[in-house]
Symmetry: C2
Subunit: 426 residues, 2 copies
């Protein structure tokens, strides 16, 4: 007997038929004797509809200026209703199949969050009531994406927050496993749409999954992986669209999917686990920047305030100790805004000229094994050179090498690196 | 300065444009310096959609027998989300117009109910937090139709429960007035679709409004009128579709609409206030019923358990003290079910034969003034006789005379009585 948290996203609960299918997945685990908590998202499309209403209400009211921004607490009250509906419907579906179940809203458990409405962080989960009920054989069906703020109001965790809810609840109830059911059947060595030879990974270390963010964001929210890593929550990514009663689906130790876990649990560690990529990157370079303490803060502080997501940052050691060059990347769409922020702060930052180029791609080689292996980066450079792909910038971390290239070569680079590290061989 | 509770039904908040219109009504009262709480229903159609989902979920799950009934607590969790959405959107609309506003769910206030999920009754409202905030100039936008049960779960009040929420909140915050905004502009002497000469009443006593149930149910929930009567909440029925800034709309003492109030407040009391009617009634008569204590309970107990709504009940004094006849009416659609219940309980009740007739109509003459006036009933019988309308049964209360007739004469009878009591003269 184990304690399992199962999470189903919006496409998995998009209509009553799919909710029934989810109930079958849950029933399988209950019938196997496990204690189960289920975390659900809103029916797909619902959250968007609610968000649209929230955003359009000020416009319809003829608001302008600051009044046209909606209140985040009211946004939360409106948008959280989507998960509320799904939790109740799934509880009914389970009851109809003879499974004892009860829905829970964030405020009922309660899942306590901070006061950052619309993007709240979970502070604490009182799992005692749910644990007691699970012990009595009742499935807890929990509305994801939400909790209760210190102001006694619903606080949502931000888009995709249901993954985070699920992992936090798994930690809160000390679950043996957190199964994230989604529309893909696991984490792959790279995007199968680009490289058909991409293989599903059996296990990925938390750190690798984090680095795969740009690849993995489609599979799992980055914040949920961070949380899983901190609390060591063993997390399975698996498909909600497989037949719930297919062979092996109820396997306790090794169900079909990818396990995200502590690196200690991965016995045969590959040097490279996956190739990630991000397209539509823009590069911005500040030339002849005054090389003094605080200059980085002067650049990236205002960019952060403008909510511009800076990705790669490359700063080389200056030749004469007085002037240096700084290069960083942002999503192409953010480039004009970033350039304006830099111009506005030019006096404070102190640079000569700013250069930029859009339409770039970042390809990343990820693997926890590269910590202890030399020559991993060299293999990447050699493979790309053989295809005449020019490298514009390089950053590395302990377990990732990121390379900035012309966007036109993105797919070729991914396939080249995938093959260079032997990832297409099973 | 006054404290006002304003309630808007589903058609009044059906889309963002109408929610904006509601916000204009609210702003008018705020600008006049009043403290305001607003109670809202779900957008029209939303509750039906949610109820459909709840009802269909067991079917999709292939449930049969008792499992095909959904759990009332989960029904409540799902269905209450409709009002949650509207409350948040209206708060945003108000904020966009520069009005300080905040949404409140039943569990936040809290509005405490009993445990009868799906048809809960309000037990207690802690208005302290809302009163304090209204005093600080903040409009409380409250999700109607719901409260918090003793099990710490959302409990809904049953269909139309938003009226009841509004009146209960008006009592809880000691409001000077409760304005029920709806798609009609007040209470009329009779249904204007049947009698174009029907006039809007300026004032109606609580008791009269209760008796007008069959007429008034379209305007106001019966339970809300009972509650208003008990707590002496002055309740205005008025239109949400009039221009919020039309002349007189902000009148504190006498806004356009009908005031439902204590009879003491009605100085010039008419003898008859209105003519109500109900079509599609069925009459059921039990012949040669044993005339003994407990026989009424033996009849109406099982009918109540079968959720059959019995309306008129007529029992005549028996000639010989041993056998009597009992006649009552039910909605035509319930007649077959009622007959079956009677047959099933025949042994216990003890009657000779049962007769029934469907397609009848009940017309009622209502007026608190008839308490002190003789001859009111006689006028009705005379007026109907002149039109050759046969009277099948009569029941009376202190302030109502109800007459059962052939359904074909319903409209004629309404017009005849409306004119007989001079209601068509202003």
């Amino acid at each position: 007997m184990a304690r399992i948290v199962m999470k189903f996203g919006g496409t998995s609960v998009a209509n009553l038929e799919r909710i029934h299918n989810v109930a079958r997945h849950v029933k399988r685990e209950v019938d196997a004797g496990h204690e189960v908590a289920v975390v659900v998202s809103a029916m797909s499309g619902k959250t968007n509809e609610l968000v649209d209403w929230v955003q359009n209400t000020p416009k319809v009211a003829g608001a302008s200026g600051s009044a046209s921004f909606y209140d985040a607490r009211e946004y939360d009250a409106v948008v959280a209703s989507g998960e509320q509906v799904t939790s109740g419907l799934l509880a009914i579906a389970l009851q109809s199949m003879g499974v004892n179940a009860r829905s829970w809203q964030g405020w009922q458990i309660p899942i306590r969050t901070d006061n950052a409405h619309g993007a709240a962080r979970i502070l604490d989960i009182d799992g005692s009531d749910i644990i007691r009920r699970m012990g009595e054989g009742q499935v807890a069906v929990i509305a994801g994406f939400q909790g209760l703020g210190p102001d006694n109001r619903i606080a949502t965790l931000g888009r995709g927050g249901s993954d985070t809810s699920a992992v936090a609840i798994a930690a809160g109830v000390k679950a043996d496993r957190c199964d994230i059911y989604t529309d893909v059947d696991g984490v792959y060595t790279t995007d199968p749409r680009i490289e058909p030879k991409a293989r599903r990974l059996k296990k990925v270390a938390f750190e690798e999954m984090l680095e795969m963010a740009s690849l993995g964001a489609k599979v799992l929210q980055v914040r949920s992986v961070e949380l899983a890593m901190v609390h060591k929550v063993r997390t399975f990514v698996r498909s909600s669209f497989e037949d719930p009663d297919a062979p092996g689906m109820g396997d306790l130790i090794n169900p079909p999917g990818t396990l995200i876990c502590d690196e200690d649990e991965i016995v045969e560690q590959e040097v490279v686990t996956g190739i990630a990529y991000a397209k539509d990157e823009a590069q911005i370079s500040l030339r002849r920047l005054s090389d003094r303490p605080g200059v980085s803060a002067a650049i990236f502080g205002p960019l952060a305030e403008a909510h511009i997501n800076v990705d790669m940052i490359v700063q080389n050691i200056s030749e004469d100790g007085s002037r240096t060059d700084m290069t960083f990347t942002v999503p192409s769409g953010d480039a004009p805004k970033a350039l304006k922020v830099l111009e506005d702060n030019k006096a404070q930052i102190g640079f000569d000229v700013v250069q930029n180029e859009t339409g770039l791609a970042k390809v990343s080689v990820i693997g926890i094994g590269m910590r202890s292996h030399a020559g991993v980066a060299a293999s990447a450079f050699k493979a790309l050179a053989e295809k005449n792909i020019n490298i514009k910038a390089i950053t590395t971390s302990e377990i990732k090498i990121s390379i900035l290239i012309d966007g036109a070569y993105a797919e070729l680079a991914v396939r080249t690196l995938h093959s260079a590290y032997g990832l297409d061989k099973s």
